[in-house]
Symmetry: C2
Subunit: 221 residues, 2 copies
């Protein structure tokens, strides 16, 4: 796994995000517009030609492989390619995750790009968001945590639109952390998840009250 | 849920796909390029302006809400907005799922847009793909099937790159169908999933050998 150090200042992080976040938002709009557009075939082909031009320009200088997960020396993470929360990744819905010890929460609006059954959120998208959130809740002590097992129960259809999600640590046992999470609409939970998270060997486990502060995203700056 | 009838011919379906599939591929390239590009901020801003122009042109005529899941009268599905397999949805990796009774399989190449931990497939993306595949395997008899519970076990990290996935029905019990699935690299399974799928009330359950043929995607035309 690629966890390189890229030691830039918080100000430089903010500067870079101020450029890429609006760009990513525009790409999200494009993903949505391509799904919903009813313009003529000729207009669709013209759109494609313009997109291909933009891609060619962006690719004149590009990182090989994937974005990876760089960190500063003070352990501020920049997971900007991440499929669920990456600031440069248009697959990720725009999320602002709030963290406190053992807890991660966010609100979101899921549109046409996240559809499964007609008008509903794809069950796998619900799983993607909850997988990210259980990872965030399990790692608010600053240690990395990977999903070992994720069990997702679909209680009823989740309509596209405004939703909230919440993940909370329910217990710890050695390198395992147990997390429960929900995706909810205004009427309550539509999807429930339980996760067993694993802290990889080689990382020191927290002891007692001496938990480091979470510092793994821009929200914590 | 929106399951409208749009009764067009298989030829018209192919004609429409011949326009939107290349367009969606171009948007996928754009999603990837925005993640990986290292051009200057000015060039990124110029790219954004061009993308905004394309979005505006596409939105001059567009469907309200989401794409939905239209079917022809002969039950050929057009889930083109689907987040895992939609022909118009750039979030979906390009998959060609092969189906036979109780079985669904596909190969795929997952690039930078599907990253979680550095260099690895996001666990939630693995869940998204396996959720789609268990649904496809459970519904090869032509009846709809929704995920009730999905349990995903992460055996080891899944590196970005060429992968295959397979889902197989292991049993049925009334309206429940049990499915087992794997995501694999060249060295074997990296992620395993078990699903309990539910056929909604109001649909007739198959009896004995009289299973209708699968007809829920373009691959079956």
């Amino acid at each position: 796994m690629d966890f390189r150090i890229e030691d830039i200042s918080p100000e430089e992080i903010d500067r870079r995000l101020s450029v890429v976040e609006p760009l990513t938002d525009s790409v999200r709009q494009l993903v949505d517009a391509v799904i919903r557009s009813e313009v003529s075939d000729d207009e669709l082909r013209a759109a494609q030609a313009q997109i291909d031009d933009v891609v060619a320009a962006l690719r004149t200088k590009q990182r090989p492989g994937s974005f990876g997960t760089p960190f500063t020396k003070t352990f501020i993470g920049m997971p900007w390619g991440n499929a669920a929360v990456g600031a440069r990744n248009a697959i990720a819905p725009p999320l602002r995750i709030r963290r406190s010890p053992g807890l991660a929460e966010c609100e979101m609006v899921l549109g046409a790009a996240y559809e499964g059954p007609g008008g509903c959120v794809h069950g796998g998208i619900a799983a993607l968001l909850l997988d990210q959130l259980v990872g965030e809740a399990a790692s608010t002590d600053g240690l990395p945590s990977f999903t070992g097992t994720l069990t997702v129960k679909y209680l009823r259809p989740t309509l596209l639109g405004a939703l909230s999600a919440r993940a909370e640590v329910t217990g710890r046992e050695g390198r395992k952390t147990f997390v429960r999470a929900t995706l909810s609409d205004d009427d309550g939970a539509t999807v429930e998840a339980e996760a067993i998270m694993i802290c990889p060997k080689g990382f020191e486990l927290p002891t007692g009250d001496a938990l480091p502060q979470p510092a793994n995203s821009r929200d914590d700056l």
